[in-house]
Amino acid sequence: MPRRLLACAALALAAGTSIAQDEAIPRFKQVDSMEARVQGCVTCHGHEGQGTRSGYFPRIAGKPAGYLYNQLVAFRDGTRKYAPMNYLVAYLPDDYLKQMAQHYAKLRPAFAPREPSTADAATIDRGKTLVAAGDASKQLPACTSCHGAGLTGMEPGVPGLVGLRPAYIAAQLTRWRVGERRAADPDCMRRIALRLSEGDIAAVAAYMSLQDPPADPSPESTNLVRMPFACGSQR
């Protein structure tokens, strides 16, 4: 079944990439299917969760199911605030949100072409340092130490970052820094965001969005590496 889904996804994408807007138009094969049920998501997140042309709507395909589920619950309960999402999922039960999360976690659509970057070389270089090595002087671990060597995330609760666009990455890090976005305690991401300057955020966003996805964009398994901070969403 997963393999068939993958094949469908690949086919759908091959047909859809030529007309960019088509990825945002509802379509499904059978009314009684998850594909039909999640049509409520497609105009922003794309037909296969690959994202759409709007820079702010994130790619959700292939992110760990635990992460996606935590976000859906947080949107429903209002602990993560984004009015259009809060409205859409307000009256959906846990089990269904879990199935939606699992649906998108399994999909592996192709990545959208990268946006050209306007960042200067020094910014991109700073971004590369933070992402790959961190900054010991600010007690910042490398992004890759939790989000995976290929930035594809880690099961069950750490999101993949590859394929996200700079506007989204910068906006989320900023929200985390000012306390508008939170995760389960201990909130490891908040500890990190508080140590990032605005310049650091711009640098990380610019560098990350230039990275090519690895051949296998699946999240890393849990506990392959020791994480620098304890994270509530990994428990």
């Binding site: 509802p26 307000a90 009256y91 039960p93």
Partner: protein, 436 residues
């Protein structure tokens, strides 16, 4: 009475307060805890008289949808603290868990019944009509006692009540006397002997615990609702949704619906005629999905039998004329974006994708709900009989105001639908009010 001038001023302020209270009756959608998070009644499973009473009380508390307002989304069920915005400041709901200090732990069944029946709290304060005592007054003493028994059986939560943040003079509860004089009629539901038991049961639930009239009755200029206008629909203040008339077949009048479809809409959230979204989705999610089949049928019988009071005739054909260019644009958008779910002829794929042809909520005079749905999309509530609802995506970021107006105009007049055109301005006005 000794100071006529003061009484006059009080009455005027009370009218304003009535408006505030009216608005306060309608909180935003509750990102509610799932049903499972509702604390289970202590003693569930045992079948003594107390158990039976508590279980009945739990059921009735769900029918009254107490949890929706008396719960702050991220906190304990029934512990209150939920803000209800009004133009005059915030009201905060109270803790109704049986905590001796902050809740209703020291209340008696008499105190509770007096509150439900008269809107007067244990300490004698007058309740703001955000608490639907104008409807709950119809609840019988036995049902009130059962709800009280259920609430007493919950785990007490030590959570202090948050004081209301109403500005002067709206913070003066004495002014509620004026509102009560104008709009409150005390009294338990009296069965209508000319109707059968099922109809009377439906009437009791709809007019009492269900407090349906709080949204489905137009609010007059004085901020209250008149009995003569009951169920005739109106805009829900602060929420930008239109609660359709239940007495007009041009709106949500159910006269020509099957009892099965009415029951499904209420209990399942979807039906072959229409689907619930927005504030009604909240009601189904928190309350009506738990209604048993017998009560669902009773409610359907009562609602179907509501007298027809179609105020306006069908709009004349001149009012339904649409510029060919608009029709063409609307049809183009419809076939490209909408037809996959709603069918090229508007038949939908009921009950999962609602029909648009012959759908009263599409053709009724107010296009507000249709505009909202196209801009923001929506999911029906996930219910016991439809746990994985099909959703509609937002189009706010894909369609411009004139395209939204054209496609809604198209669905309002195509397929022999009897609606009238929608203007770009109407779309733009709503877009500015809605979450982006």
């Amino acid at each position: 009475m000794r100071h006529p001038l003061l009484v006059g001023v009080a009455a005027i302020v009370a009218i304003g307060l009535g408006a505030a209270a009216w608005v306060a009756m309608h909180p935003g959608p509750l990102p509610a805890p799932p049903a499972a998070a509702m604390p289970a009644a202590k003693g569930a499973g045992r079948t003594d008289a107390t158990t039976k009473m508590i279980e009945r009380g739990e059921y009735l508390a769900r029918m009254g949808d107490c949890v929706a307002c008396h719960t702050e989304p991220t906190s304990h069920a029934f512990a209150g603290g939920r803000a209800m915005a009004t133009p005059f400041g915030n009201l905060y709901t109270s803790n109704i868990t049986p905590d001796d200090e902050y809740g209703i732990g020291l209340w008696t069944a008499d105190d509770f019944y007096r509150m439900m029946h008269t809107g007067i709290s244990r300490d004698g304060t007058l309740l703001y009509p955000a608490m639907p005592f104008a409807q709950y007054t119809k609840v019988t003493r036995a049902d009130s006692d059962a709800i009280f028994a259920y609430l007493q059986s919950l785990i007490p939560v030590k959570q202090k009540n948050r004081p209301h943040e109403l500005r002067f003079p709206f913070n003066k509860r004495e002014l509620l006397v004026g509102w009560r004089t104008l709009y409150f009629r005390q009294g338990e539901y009296q069965p209508d002997p000319s109707q059968n038991a099922q109809w009377n049961r439906g009437a009791y639930l709809v007019e009492g615990l269900g407090h349906c009239t709080m949204c489905h009755t137009a609010v007059n200029m004085l901020g209250g609702s008149k009995e003569s206008k009951e169920f005739e629909g109106g805009m829900i203040p602060n929420q930008n949704w239109y609660a359709p008339s239940l007495t007009s077949n041009r709106e949500a009048g159910l006269g020509d619906w099957s009892l099965k479809d009415i029951g499904d809409l209420l209990q399942v959230g979807i039906s072959h005629r229409a689907t619930v979204y927005g504030p009604m989705a909240e009601v189904v999610y928190n309350s009506l999905q738990y209604m048993n089949d017998e009560d669902t049928a009773a409610m359907a019988v009562y609602l179907k039998a509501l007298p027809k009071r179609d105020a306006d005739a069908l709009p004349p054909s001149s009012a339904r004329l649409v510029e060919p260019a608009v029709m063409e644009s609307g049809q183009k958008t419809y076939l490209r974006q909408c037809a996959v779910c709603h069918h090229s002829e508007g038949k939908g794929y009921p009950p999962h994708y609602p029909p648009l042809a012959g759908n009263q909520s599409i053709t009724m005079a107010s296009p507000v709900n249709s505009i909202r749905m196209v801009l923001n999309g929506g999911y029906p509530p996930g219910t016991r009989k439809n746990s994985r609802p099909h959703g509609m995506p937002p189009f706010a970021h894909l369609l411009k105001d004139d395209e939204v107006a054209a496609v809604i105009t198209y669905i309002r007049v195509a397929w022999n639908n009897t609606g009238t055109p929608v203007t770009t301005t109407q779309v733009n006005d709503l877009r500015k009010l809605l979450p982006e």
